[in-house]
Amino acid sequence: MKKIEAIVKPFKLEEVKDALAEVGIEGMTVSEVKGFGRQKGHTEIYRGSEYTVDFLPKIKIEIVLSDSRLETAIAAILKAAKTGKIGDGKVFVYPVQEAIRIRTGEKGEQAI
Protein backbone atom coordinates (compact mmCIF):
# COMPACT_ATOMS: atom_id res chain seq x y z
CA MET A 1 0.00 0.00 0.00
CA LYS A 2 1.03 3.55 -0.64
CA LYS A 3 -0.04 6.98 0.41
CA ILE A 4 -0.32 9.78 -2.08
CA GLU A 5 -0.07 13.27 -0.73
CA ALA A 6 -1.03 15.86 -3.31
CA ILE A 7 -0.63 19.58 -2.67
CA VAL A 8 -2.89 21.44 -5.12
CA LYS A 9 -4.42 24.83 -5.71
CA PRO A 10 -7.65 25.23 -3.71
CA PHE A 11 -9.96 25.77 -6.65
CA LYS A 12 -8.75 22.50 -8.19
CA LEU A 13 -10.12 20.34 -5.41
CA GLU A 14 -13.44 19.55 -7.03
CA GLU A 15 -11.81 18.60 -10.33
CA VAL A 16 -9.22 16.38 -8.70
CA LYS A 17 -11.90 14.67 -6.65
CA ASP A 18 -13.94 14.00 -9.75
CA ALA A 19 -10.90 12.74 -11.69
CA LEU A 20 -10.10 10.35 -8.88
CA ALA A 21 -13.66 9.13 -8.71
CA GLU A 22 -13.48 8.35 -12.41
CA VAL A 23 -10.57 6.01 -11.85
CA GLY A 24 -12.36 4.39 -8.95
CA ILE A 25 -10.79 6.11 -5.98
CA GLU A 26 -13.49 6.78 -3.46
CA GLY A 27 -11.72 7.51 -0.23
CA MET A 28 -9.56 10.47 0.65
CA THR A 29 -8.83 12.95 3.37
CA VAL A 30 -8.38 16.60 2.65
CA SER A 31 -6.97 19.50 4.64
CA GLU A 32 -6.27 23.19 4.26
CA VAL A 33 -2.58 24.01 4.30
CA LYS A 34 -0.33 26.92 3.46
CA GLY A 35 2.37 26.46 0.88
CA PHE A 36 5.73 28.07 0.41
CA GLY A 37 7.72 27.61 -2.77
CA ARG A 38 8.59 29.33 -5.98
CA GLN A 39 5.20 30.92 -6.40
CA LYS A 40 5.45 34.39 -4.99
CA GLY A 41 3.13 35.61 -2.26
CA HIS A 42 1.45 38.97 -2.09
CA THR A 43 1.68 42.15 -0.12
CA GLU A 44 -0.95 43.49 2.20
CA ILE A 45 -0.91 47.03 3.51
CA TYR A 46 -2.69 48.08 6.65
CA ARG A 47 -2.41 51.80 7.33
CA GLY A 48 1.13 52.00 6.11
CA SER A 49 2.40 48.72 7.52
CA GLU A 50 3.28 46.46 4.61
CA TYR A 51 3.25 42.72 5.16
CA THR A 52 4.55 40.22 2.67
CA VAL A 53 2.49 37.10 2.88
CA ASP A 54 4.73 34.27 1.71
CA PHE A 55 2.40 31.43 2.47
CA LEU A 56 -0.29 30.70 -0.04
CA PRO A 57 -3.44 28.71 0.55
CA LYS A 58 -3.21 25.15 -0.80
CA ILE A 59 -5.18 21.98 -0.36
CA LYS A 60 -3.57 18.74 0.73
CA ILE A 61 -5.24 15.57 -0.45
CA GLU A 62 -4.23 12.29 1.17
CA ILE A 63 -5.11 8.96 -0.36
CA VAL A 64 -4.06 5.57 0.85
CA LEU A 65 -4.33 3.00 -1.90
CA SER A 66 -3.03 -0.32 -3.18
CA ASP A 67 0.18 -0.35 -5.15
CA SER A 68 -1.68 -1.45 -8.23
CA ARG A 69 -3.77 1.70 -8.44
CA LEU A 70 -0.94 4.09 -7.71
CA GLU A 71 -0.06 4.98 -11.26
CA THR A 72 -3.57 5.64 -12.51
CA ALA A 73 -4.31 7.73 -9.48
CA ILE A 74 -1.21 9.85 -9.93
CA ALA A 75 -1.99 10.32 -13.59
CA ALA A 76 -5.49 11.43 -12.77
CA ILE A 77 -4.26 13.96 -10.24
CA LEU A 78 -1.57 15.35 -12.51
CA LYS A 79 -4.06 15.87 -15.26
CA ALA A 80 -6.77 17.46 -13.18
CA ALA A 81 -4.60 19.68 -11.04
CA LYS A 82 -2.41 21.13 -13.74
CA THR A 83 -2.86 24.72 -14.89
CA GLY A 84 0.71 25.04 -16.11
CA LYS A 85 1.28 28.08 -13.96
CA ILE A 86 3.77 28.22 -11.14
CA GLY A 87 2.41 26.99 -7.84
CA ASP A 88 0.44 24.04 -9.20
CA GLY A 89 1.86 21.88 -6.42
CA LYS A 90 3.37 18.48 -5.88
CA VAL A 91 2.52 14.86 -5.55
CA PHE A 92 4.46 12.87 -2.96
CA VAL A 93 4.30 9.11 -2.46
CA TYR A 94 5.02 7.33 0.83
CA PRO A 95 5.10 3.71 1.89
CA VAL A 96 2.24 2.54 4.11
CA GLN A 97 2.57 -0.39 6.45
CA GLU A 98 -0.99 -1.01 7.47
CA ALA A 99 -4.54 0.26 7.12
CA ILE A 100 -7.51 -0.60 9.31
CA ARG A 101 -11.15 0.32 8.98
CA ILE A 102 -12.36 1.37 12.40
CA ARG A 103 -15.97 0.39 11.83
CA THR A 104 -15.25 -3.24 10.94
CA GLY A 105 -11.66 -3.87 11.95
CA GLU A 106 -10.88 -4.96 8.37
CA LYS A 107 -7.21 -4.65 7.53
CA GLY A 108 -5.00 -4.02 4.54
CA GLU A 109 -6.48 -3.39 1.13
CA GLN A 110 -9.90 -4.33 2.42
CA ALA A 111 -9.80 -1.30 4.58
CA ILE A 112 -9.29 1.40 2.03
Binding site: I45, Y46, R47, G48, S49, Y51, T52, V53
Partner: protein, 485 residues
Protein backbone atom coordinates in the same frame (compact mmCIF):
# COMPACT_ATOMS: atom_id res chain seq x y z
CA UNK B 1 7.98 79.84 28.37
CA UNK B 2 7.64 81.91 31.49
CA UNK B 3 4.09 82.65 30.61
CA UNK B 4 3.43 78.98 30.09
CA UNK B 5 4.85 78.20 33.48
CA UNK B 6 2.73 80.85 35.11
CA UNK B 7 -0.33 79.48 33.39
CA UNK B 8 0.62 76.07 34.64
CA UNK B 9 0.89 77.41 38.17
CA UNK B 10 -2.52 78.98 37.97
CA UNK B 11 -4.02 75.82 36.56
CA UNK B 12 -2.46 73.76 39.30
CA UNK B 13 -3.77 75.89 42.09
CA UNK B 14 -7.16 76.01 40.47
CA UNK B 15 -7.18 72.26 40.10
CA UNK B 16 -6.49 71.74 43.74
CA UNK B 17 -8.88 74.46 44.70
CA UNK B 18 -11.73 72.69 42.93
CA UNK B 19 -11.85 70.04 45.54
CA UNK B 20 -12.54 72.39 48.34
CA UNK B 21 -14.91 74.71 46.52
CA UNK B 22 -18.05 75.39 48.54
CA UNK B 23 -21.15 73.53 47.44
CA UNK B 24 -23.53 75.61 45.36
CA UNK B 25 -26.14 77.31 47.53
CA UNK B 26 -29.30 75.21 47.68
CA UNK B 27 -32.44 76.71 46.20
CA UNK B 28 -33.29 79.22 48.89
CA UNK B 29 -36.91 79.66 49.89
CA UNK B 30 -38.06 81.87 47.01
CA UNK B 31 -40.75 84.51 47.45
CA UNK B 32 -44.13 83.40 46.06
CA UNK B 33 -44.30 83.90 42.30
CA UNK B 34 -47.21 84.81 40.08
CA UNK B 35 -48.97 82.54 37.63
CA UNK B 36 -47.98 83.27 34.03
CA UNK B 37 -50.39 85.21 31.84
CA UNK B 38 -51.83 83.57 28.76
CA UNK B 39 -49.37 85.46 26.59
CA UNK B 40 -46.51 84.33 28.79
CA UNK B 41 -47.77 80.78 28.56
CA UNK B 42 -47.77 81.00 24.78
CA UNK B 43 -44.30 82.52 24.85
CA UNK B 44 -43.13 79.62 27.02
CA UNK B 45 -44.50 77.18 24.48
CA UNK B 46 -42.72 79.03 21.70
CA UNK B 47 -39.56 78.98 23.79
CA UNK B 48 -39.81 75.21 23.84
CA UNK B 49 -39.97 75.09 20.05
CA UNK B 50 -37.12 77.56 19.70
CA UNK B 51 -35.04 76.04 22.52
CA UNK B 52 -35.06 79.33 24.37
CA UNK B 53 -35.67 80.26 28.01
CA UNK B 54 -39.11 80.31 29.61
CA UNK B 55 -40.24 83.58 31.20
CA UNK B 56 -39.57 81.91 34.52
CA UNK B 57 -35.98 81.21 33.53
CA UNK B 58 -35.04 84.85 33.35
CA UNK B 59 -32.95 85.99 36.28
CA UNK B 60 -35.17 87.70 38.84
CA UNK B 61 -38.26 86.42 37.08
CA UNK B 62 -41.46 86.84 39.05
CA UNK B 63 -43.61 84.25 37.29
CA UNK B 64 -43.78 80.51 37.30
CA UNK B 65 -44.17 78.37 34.22
CA UNK B 66 -46.85 75.82 33.40
CA UNK B 67 -44.19 73.81 31.58
CA UNK B 68 -41.33 73.90 34.01
CA UNK B 69 -40.21 70.30 33.42
CA UNK B 70 -38.33 68.91 30.46
CA UNK B 71 -39.48 69.49 26.87
CA UNK B 72 -40.31 66.15 25.28
CA UNK B 73 -38.67 66.62 21.86
CA UNK B 74 -35.40 67.83 23.28
CA UNK B 75 -35.46 65.14 25.94
CA UNK B 76 -36.29 62.45 23.42
CA UNK B 77 -33.52 63.51 21.09
CA UNK B 78 -31.01 63.61 23.93
CA UNK B 79 -31.99 60.14 25.13
CA UNK B 80 -31.56 58.93 21.56
CA UNK B 81 -28.23 60.73 21.36
CA UNK B 82 -26.99 59.30 24.64
CA UNK B 83 -27.88 55.80 23.48
CA UNK B 84 -26.07 56.48 20.21
CA UNK B 85 -22.93 57.62 22.00
CA UNK B 86 -22.94 54.52 24.17
CA UNK B 87 -23.36 52.52 20.97
CA UNK B 88 -20.14 54.11 19.73
CA UNK B 89 -18.23 52.36 22.52
CA UNK B 90 -20.34 49.26 23.05
CA UNK B 91 -19.94 47.65 20.65
CA UNK B 92 -18.73 50.24 18.08
CA UNK B 93 -15.24 51.10 19.23
CA UNK B 94 -14.78 47.65 20.75
CA UNK B 95 -15.27 46.17 17.28
CA UNK B 96 -13.31 48.82 15.42
CA UNK B 97 -10.32 48.20 17.67
CA UNK B 98 -11.04 44.55 18.38
CA UNK B 99 -11.06 43.68 14.69
CA UNK B 100 -7.68 45.33 14.18
CA UNK B 101 -5.74 43.35 16.77
CA UNK B 102 -4.55 39.80 16.43
CA UNK B 103 -6.97 37.02 17.21
CA UNK B 104 -5.28 36.15 20.46
CA UNK B 105 -5.89 39.64 21.84
CA UNK B 106 -9.34 40.32 20.47
CA UNK B 107 -11.14 39.85 23.74
CA UNK B 108 -8.69 41.96 25.70
CA UNK B 109 -9.84 44.97 23.72
CA UNK B 110 -13.46 44.18 24.51
CA UNK B 111 -12.57 43.80 28.19
CA UNK B 112 -10.95 47.22 28.11
CA UNK B 113 -14.00 48.88 26.63
CA UNK B 114 -16.40 47.08 28.95
CA UNK B 115 -14.27 47.68 32.01
CA UNK B 116 -13.94 51.37 31.25
CA UNK B 117 -17.69 51.65 30.76
CA UNK B 118 -18.31 50.21 34.21
CA UNK B 119 -15.52 51.98 36.03
CA UNK B 120 -16.13 55.43 34.57
CA UNK B 121 -19.88 55.19 35.22
CA UNK B 122 -19.21 54.58 38.88
CA UNK B 123 -16.70 57.45 39.08
CA UNK B 124 -19.14 59.70 37.26
CA UNK B 125 -21.93 58.92 39.72
CA UNK B 126 -19.58 59.35 42.66
CA UNK B 127 -18.08 62.71 41.85
CA UNK B 128 -17.20 63.01 38.16
CA UNK B 129 -20.34 64.72 36.97
CA UNK B 130 -20.09 67.14 39.83
CA UNK B 131 -16.44 67.97 39.12
CA UNK B 132 -17.25 68.70 35.51
CA UNK B 133 -20.66 70.32 35.48
CA UNK B 134 -21.17 72.08 38.77
CA UNK B 135 -19.91 75.60 39.16
CA UNK B 136 -16.52 75.83 40.79
CA UNK B 137 -13.47 77.53 39.39
CA UNK B 138 -12.06 77.74 35.90
CA UNK B 139 -10.53 74.26 36.01
CA UNK B 140 -12.69 72.15 38.28
CA UNK B 141 -16.30 72.17 39.36
CA UNK B 142 -17.09 71.50 42.96
CA UNK B 143 -16.86 67.92 44.11
CA UNK B 144 -19.79 68.17 46.45
CA UNK B 145 -22.59 69.82 44.52
CA UNK B 146 -23.73 66.80 42.56
CA UNK B 147 -21.84 64.01 44.32
CA UNK B 148 -23.72 60.72 43.97
CA UNK B 149 -25.81 62.56 41.38
CA UNK B 150 -27.62 64.11 44.31
CA UNK B 151 -30.25 66.52 43.03
CA UNK B 152 -29.72 65.44 39.46
CA UNK B 153 -33.32 64.71 38.60
CA UNK B 154 -35.61 65.11 35.61
CA UNK B 155 -35.71 68.91 35.78
CA UNK B 156 -33.40 70.79 33.46
CA UNK B 157 -30.21 72.38 34.76
CA UNK B 158 -30.63 75.71 32.98
CA UNK B 159 -26.90 76.29 32.94
CA UNK B 160 -26.76 73.73 30.17
CA UNK B 161 -30.23 73.40 28.75
CA UNK B 162 -33.64 74.87 29.29
CA UNK B 163 -35.47 71.79 28.16
CA UNK B 164 -33.43 68.66 28.73
CA UNK B 165 -33.71 66.74 31.99
CA UNK B 166 -30.52 67.03 33.98
CA UNK B 167 -30.41 63.28 34.56
CA UNK B 168 -30.49 62.74 30.80
CA UNK B 169 -27.85 65.42 30.31
CA UNK B 170 -25.66 63.76 32.92
CA UNK B 171 -25.98 60.37 31.25
CA UNK B 172 -25.31 61.87 27.84
CA UNK B 173 -22.12 63.40 29.17
CA UNK B 174 -21.21 60.13 30.87
CA UNK B 175 -21.08 58.47 27.48
CA UNK B 176 -18.40 60.96 26.44
CA UNK B 177 -16.48 60.26 29.60
CA UNK B 178 -16.57 56.56 28.73
CA UNK B 179 -15.43 56.72 25.15
CA UNK B 180 -12.55 59.11 25.75
CA UNK B 181 -10.29 56.83 27.80
CA UNK B 182 -11.44 53.91 25.66
CA UNK B 183 -9.93 55.66 22.64
CA UNK B 184 -6.51 55.54 24.32
CA UNK B 185 -6.68 51.75 24.31
CA UNK B 186 -5.90 51.73 20.60
CA UNK B 187 -2.35 52.84 21.22
CA UNK B 188 -1.50 50.36 23.93
CA UNK B 189 -3.36 47.35 22.60
CA UNK B 190 -1.90 43.87 22.82
CA UNK B 191 0.54 44.46 25.66
CA UNK B 192 -0.73 46.47 28.62
CA UNK B 193 -1.71 44.78 31.86
CA UNK B 194 -5.40 44.86 32.66
CA UNK B 195 -4.85 45.92 36.26
CA UNK B 196 -2.62 48.75 35.12
CA UNK B 197 -5.30 49.88 32.69
CA UNK B 198 -7.93 50.10 35.39
CA UNK B 199 -5.61 52.09 37.64
CA UNK B 200 -4.48 54.32 34.79
CA UNK B 201 -7.99 55.15 33.68
CA UNK B 202 -9.06 56.00 37.21
CA UNK B 203 -6.17 58.41 37.62
CA UNK B 204 -6.49 59.82 34.15
CA UNK B 205 -10.12 60.77 34.64
CA UNK B 206 -9.18 62.96 37.59
CA UNK B 207 -5.96 64.37 36.20
CA UNK B 208 -6.99 64.92 32.61
CA UNK B 209 -10.61 64.29 31.65
CA UNK B 210 -12.57 65.94 34.44
CA UNK B 211 -10.55 69.20 34.35
CA UNK B 212 -10.48 69.26 30.53
CA UNK B 213 -14.25 68.78 30.33
CA UNK B 214 -14.89 71.44 32.97
CA UNK B 215 -12.57 73.92 31.31
CA UNK B 216 -14.28 73.50 27.95
CA UNK B 217 -17.92 72.88 28.85
CA UNK B 218 -18.30 73.83 32.51
CA UNK B 219 -20.44 76.91 33.10
CA UNK B 220 -17.42 78.79 34.46
CA UNK B 221 -14.78 76.89 32.51
CA UNK B 222 -11.46 78.43 31.50
CA UNK B 223 -11.89 77.87 27.76
CA UNK B 224 -15.68 77.86 27.46
CA UNK B 225 -15.71 80.72 25.01
CA UNK B 226 -19.29 80.34 23.88
CA UNK B 227 -21.09 80.37 27.21
CA UNK B 228 -18.69 81.76 29.81
CA UNK B 229 -18.29 85.50 29.34
CA UNK B 230 -15.34 85.39 31.72
CA UNK B 231 -13.44 82.62 29.98
CA UNK B 232 -9.72 83.44 29.93
CA UNK B 233 -9.31 81.59 26.67
CA UNK B 234 -12.06 82.43 24.23
CA UNK B 235 -11.94 79.11 22.44
CA UNK B 236 -14.77 76.97 21.13
CA UNK B 237 -15.17 73.21 20.91
CA UNK B 238 -18.57 72.00 19.80
CA UNK B 239 -18.49 68.31 20.64
CA UNK B 240 -15.11 67.59 22.09
CA UNK B 241 -12.19 68.01 19.70
CA UNK B 242 -9.94 69.00 22.58
CA UNK B 243 -11.70 67.25 25.44
CA UNK B 244 -12.18 63.94 23.72
CA UNK B 245 -9.89 63.49 20.76
CA UNK B 246 -6.85 65.58 21.53
CA UNK B 247 -6.75 64.60 25.18
CA UNK B 248 -7.03 60.90 24.38
CA UNK B 249 -4.80 61.04 21.32
CA UNK B 250 -1.87 62.81 22.94
CA UNK B 251 -2.18 60.74 26.10
CA UNK B 252 -2.12 57.67 23.87
CA UNK B 253 1.19 58.75 22.37
CA UNK B 254 2.81 59.23 25.75
CA UNK B 255 1.47 55.97 27.09
CA UNK B 256 2.61 53.91 24.14
CA UNK B 257 6.06 55.46 24.40
CA UNK B 258 6.25 54.60 28.08
CA UNK B 259 5.03 51.11 27.36
CA UNK B 260 7.36 50.28 24.51
CA UNK B 261 6.75 48.39 21.30
CA UNK B 262 4.99 45.10 20.97
CA UNK B 263 7.27 42.05 20.80
CA UNK B 264 8.23 41.57 17.21
CA UNK B 265 7.14 45.03 16.07
CA UNK B 266 7.68 46.06 13.33
CA UNK B 267 9.27 42.90 11.90
CA UNK B 268 6.56 40.35 12.62
CA UNK B 269 3.37 40.81 10.61
CA UNK B 270 0.44 41.78 12.80
CA UNK B 271 -2.46 42.10 10.39
CA UNK B 272 -6.01 42.76 11.65
CA UNK B 273 -7.64 39.50 12.60
CA UNK B 274 -10.99 40.61 11.27
CA UNK B 275 -11.45 43.54 8.92
CA UNK B 276 -15.12 42.56 8.90
CA UNK B 277 -15.48 43.38 12.60
CA UNK B 278 -13.47 46.53 12.09
CA UNK B 279 -15.84 47.70 9.39
CA UNK B 280 -18.92 46.89 11.46
CA UNK B 281 -17.41 48.98 14.20
CA UNK B 282 -16.80 51.83 11.78
CA UNK B 283 -20.41 51.85 10.65
CA UNK B 284 -21.54 51.94 14.26
CA UNK B 285 -19.12 54.73 15.10
CA UNK B 286 -20.40 56.80 12.20
CA UNK B 287 -24.04 56.27 13.08
CA UNK B 288 -23.39 56.80 16.77
CA UNK B 289 -21.44 59.97 16.05
CA UNK B 290 -24.70 61.68 15.13
CA UNK B 291 -25.55 61.43 18.80
CA UNK B 292 -22.10 62.73 19.64
CA UNK B 293 -22.13 65.74 17.33
CA UNK B 294 -25.76 66.61 16.67
CA UNK B 295 -26.54 65.70 20.28
CA UNK B 296 -24.01 68.27 21.42
CA UNK B 297 -26.53 70.97 20.62
CA UNK B 298 -28.34 69.59 23.69
CA UNK B 299 -31.58 70.15 21.79
CA UNK B 300 -33.26 68.98 18.60
CA UNK B 301 -32.88 72.45 17.15
CA UNK B 302 -31.35 74.06 14.09
CA UNK B 303 -27.85 73.84 15.51
CA UNK B 304 -28.23 70.10 15.89
CA UNK B 305 -29.56 70.00 12.34
CA UNK B 306 -26.49 71.80 11.08
CA UNK B 307 -24.19 69.50 13.02
CA UNK B 308 -25.97 66.54 11.50
CA UNK B 309 -25.22 67.81 8.02
CA UNK B 310 -21.60 68.76 8.60
CA UNK B 311 -20.91 65.44 10.31
CA UNK B 312 -22.24 63.53 7.35
CA UNK B 313 -20.37 65.54 4.76
CA UNK B 314 -17.05 65.49 6.57
CA UNK B 315 -17.15 61.77 7.30
CA UNK B 316 -18.14 60.80 3.79
CA UNK B 317 -15.61 63.09 2.14
CA UNK B 318 -12.72 62.04 4.36
CA UNK B 319 -13.53 58.37 3.91
CA UNK B 320 -13.53 58.71 0.16
CA UNK B 321 -10.46 60.94 0.02
CA UNK B 322 -8.35 58.66 2.22
CA UNK B 323 -9.15 55.59 0.14
CA UNK B 324 -8.67 57.44 -3.13
CA UNK B 325 -5.28 58.65 -1.89
CA UNK B 326 -4.38 55.00 -1.40
CA UNK B 327 -5.79 54.20 -4.82
CA UNK B 328 -3.55 56.78 -6.41
CA UNK B 329 -0.45 56.10 -4.34
CA UNK B 330 -0.63 52.33 -3.80
CA UNK B 331 -3.05 51.20 -6.48
CA UNK B 332 -5.45 49.72 -3.95
CA UNK B 333 -8.22 51.47 -2.07
CA UNK B 334 -8.43 49.50 1.15
CA UNK B 335 -11.32 48.86 3.48
CA UNK B 336 -9.16 50.01 6.35
CA UNK B 337 -8.54 53.16 4.35
CA UNK B 338 -12.23 53.88 3.97
CA UNK B 339 -12.79 53.13 7.64
CA UNK B 340 -9.86 55.20 8.85
CA UNK B 341 -10.90 58.09 6.66
CA UNK B 342 -14.45 58.02 7.96
CA UNK B 343 -13.28 58.04 11.55
CA UNK B 344 -10.74 60.78 10.81
CA UNK B 345 -13.47 62.88 9.19
CA UNK B 346 -15.67 62.42 12.21
CA UNK B 347 -12.83 63.34 14.55
CA UNK B 348 -11.85 66.48 12.70
CA UNK B 349 -15.41 67.74 12.35
CA UNK B 350 -16.21 67.13 16.01
CA UNK B 351 -15.16 70.53 17.38
CA UNK B 352 -16.59 72.27 14.32
CA UNK B 353 -19.87 70.47 13.70
CA UNK B 354 -22.24 73.09 15.10
CA UNK B 355 -20.16 76.08 13.98
CA UNK B 356 -19.35 75.59 10.28
CA UNK B 357 -21.46 75.33 7.14
CA UNK B 358 -21.57 72.69 4.43
CA UNK B 359 -18.59 74.05 2.50
CA UNK B 360 -16.61 74.17 5.72
CA UNK B 361 -17.51 70.55 6.30
CA UNK B 362 -16.26 69.52 2.88
CA UNK B 363 -12.98 71.34 3.49
CA UNK B 364 -12.67 69.60 6.84
CA UNK B 365 -13.36 66.29 5.13
CA UNK B 366 -10.57 66.93 2.67
CA UNK B 367 -8.07 67.80 5.39
CA UNK B 368 -9.18 64.81 7.44
CA UNK B 369 -8.72 62.49 4.50
CA UNK B 370 -5.20 63.65 3.78
CA UNK B 371 -3.39 64.76 6.93
CA UNK B 372 -4.06 61.85 9.30
CA UNK B 373 -3.47 59.61 6.30
CA UNK B 374 0.04 61.00 6.01
CA UNK B 375 0.50 60.73 9.78
CA UNK B 376 -0.33 57.04 9.73
CA UNK B 377 1.56 56.21 6.55
CA UNK B 378 4.70 58.27 7.06
CA UNK B 379 5.07 59.84 10.49
CA UNK B 380 4.74 56.57 12.37
CA UNK B 381 7.37 54.94 10.21
CA UNK B 382 9.76 57.85 10.65
CA UNK B 383 9.38 58.20 14.37
CA UNK B 384 9.11 54.50 15.03
CA UNK B 385 6.75 54.47 18.03
CA UNK B 386 4.29 51.59 18.22
CA UNK B 387 0.85 53.17 18.33
CA UNK B 388 -0.85 49.82 17.70
CA UNK B 389 -4.10 51.05 16.18
CA UNK B 390 -3.18 54.66 15.35
CA UNK B 391 -4.92 56.50 18.13
CA UNK B 392 -2.29 59.20 17.83
CA UNK B 393 -2.38 59.35 14.05
CA UNK B 394 -6.14 59.66 13.92
CA UNK B 395 -7.30 61.25 17.16
CA UNK B 396 -4.39 63.43 18.22
CA UNK B 397 -3.49 64.64 14.74
CA UNK B 398 -7.13 64.80 13.68
CA UNK B 399 -8.29 66.45 16.89
CA UNK B 400 -5.60 69.08 16.66
CA UNK B 401 -6.36 69.90 13.04
CA UNK B 402 -10.03 70.04 13.91
CA UNK B 403 -9.53 72.44 16.79
CA UNK B 404 -7.49 74.72 14.56
CA UNK B 405 -9.76 74.57 11.52
CA UNK B 406 -12.73 75.33 13.73
CA UNK B 407 -11.02 78.59 14.53
CA UNK B 408 -10.81 79.44 10.85
CA UNK B 409 -14.17 78.19 9.63
CA UNK B 410 -16.65 78.91 12.44
CA UNK B 411 -19.38 81.38 11.51
CA UNK B 412 -22.19 82.86 13.52
CA UNK B 413 -24.50 82.60 10.50
CA UNK B 414 -24.69 78.93 11.39
CA UNK B 415 -24.70 79.30 15.14
CA UNK B 416 -26.02 82.57 16.59
CA UNK B 417 -24.66 81.63 20.02
CA UNK B 418 -21.27 82.69 18.71
CA UNK B 419 -22.53 86.25 18.91
CA UNK B 420 -23.16 86.06 22.65
CA UNK B 421 -19.63 86.39 23.98
CA UNK B 422 -17.43 86.07 20.93
CA UNK B 423 -18.55 88.93 18.71
CA UNK B 424 -15.11 90.32 17.93
CA UNK B 425 -13.40 86.97 18.12
CA UNK B 426 -15.09 84.69 15.61
CA UNK B 427 -13.76 85.39 12.16
CA UNK B 428 -10.84 87.36 13.58
CA UNK B 429 -8.52 85.99 16.22
CA UNK B 430 -10.45 82.87 17.06
CA UNK B 431 -7.69 80.72 15.55
CA UNK B 432 -5.28 82.20 18.09
CA UNK B 433 -7.60 81.33 20.96
CA UNK B 434 -7.89 77.86 19.52
CA UNK B 435 -4.10 77.57 19.55
CA UNK B 436 -4.12 78.50 23.22
CA UNK B 437 -6.75 75.84 23.91
CA UNK B 438 -4.64 73.34 22.00
CA UNK B 439 -1.69 74.28 24.20
CA UNK B 440 -3.59 73.81 27.44
CA UNK B 441 -4.92 70.49 26.23
CA UNK B 442 -1.45 69.27 25.31
CA UNK B 443 -0.23 70.36 28.71
CA UNK B 444 -2.86 68.44 30.60
CA UNK B 445 -2.69 65.34 28.44
CA UNK B 446 1.07 65.09 28.36
CA UNK B 447 1.84 66.04 31.93
CA UNK B 448 -1.02 64.01 33.39
CA UNK B 449 -0.23 60.89 31.41
CA UNK B 450 3.49 61.09 32.00
CA UNK B 451 3.11 61.36 35.76
CA UNK B 452 0.52 58.60 35.91
CA UNK B 453 2.38 56.33 33.55
CA UNK B 454 5.64 56.54 35.45
CA UNK B 455 3.89 56.05 38.75
CA UNK B 456 2.09 52.93 37.61
CA UNK B 457 5.19 51.55 35.96
CA UNK B 458 7.02 51.82 39.26
CA UNK B 459 4.20 50.60 41.46
CA UNK B 460 2.62 47.68 39.61
CA UNK B 461 4.16 47.65 36.16
CA UNK B 462 2.52 48.64 32.91
CA UNK B 463 3.23 45.64 30.79
CA UNK B 464 2.47 41.93 30.72
CA UNK B 465 5.36 39.49 30.63
CA UNK B 466 6.83 38.29 27.34
CA UNK B 467 5.24 34.90 27.81
CA UNK B 468 1.81 36.40 28.26
CA UNK B 469 2.28 38.65 25.27
CA UNK B 470 3.28 35.65 23.18
CA UNK B 471 0.37 33.48 24.25
CA UNK B 472 -2.06 36.36 24.02
CA UNK B 473 -3.87 38.47 26.58
CA UNK B 474 -7.23 36.77 26.10
CA UNK B 475 -6.22 33.43 27.50
CA UNK B 476 -3.94 34.62 30.25
CA UNK B 477 -5.62 37.76 31.48
CA UNK B 478 -9.25 36.86 30.87
CA UNK B 479 -9.28 33.07 30.70
CA UNK B 480 -11.24 32.98 27.46
CA UNK B 481 -10.71 32.65 23.74
CA UNK B 482 -12.51 34.80 21.20
CA UNK B 483 -13.43 31.93 18.89
CA UNK B 484 -13.80 28.18 19.21
CA UNK B 485 -14.23 26.32 15.98
Amino acid sequence: MKKALRLFGILLSLSLGGWCAPAAPSDAAAPAKAEPTLEQRVADLEAYINNGPRNADAPESKVTSKISGPGPAHNGWMMTSAALVLFMTLPGLALFYGGLVRRKNALSVLAQCLGIAGLVSILWWLVGYSLVFSAGNAVFGSAGTFAFLKGVNSNPNTNYSYWVSQNVFSMYQLMFAIITPALIMGAIAERMKYSAILVFVTGWMFLVYFPMAHMVWGVDGLMNGVWNANASIKAIDFAGGTVVHMSSGWSALILCLLLGKRLGFPKEPMPPHSMALCMIGTGMLWVGWYGFNAGSAVAADGIAANAFMTTTLAAATASFVWAMAEYVLKGKPSILGFCSGAVAGLVVVTPAAGFVDSSGAILIGLAAGLIPFMACYKLKGWLGYDDSLDTFGVHAVGGTIGAFLTGLLATSSVNPNLDLNLKGVVGHILWLEQLKAIGVTLLFAIVGTTILGFLIRVLIGLRVSEDVETIGLDLVEHGEEAYHD
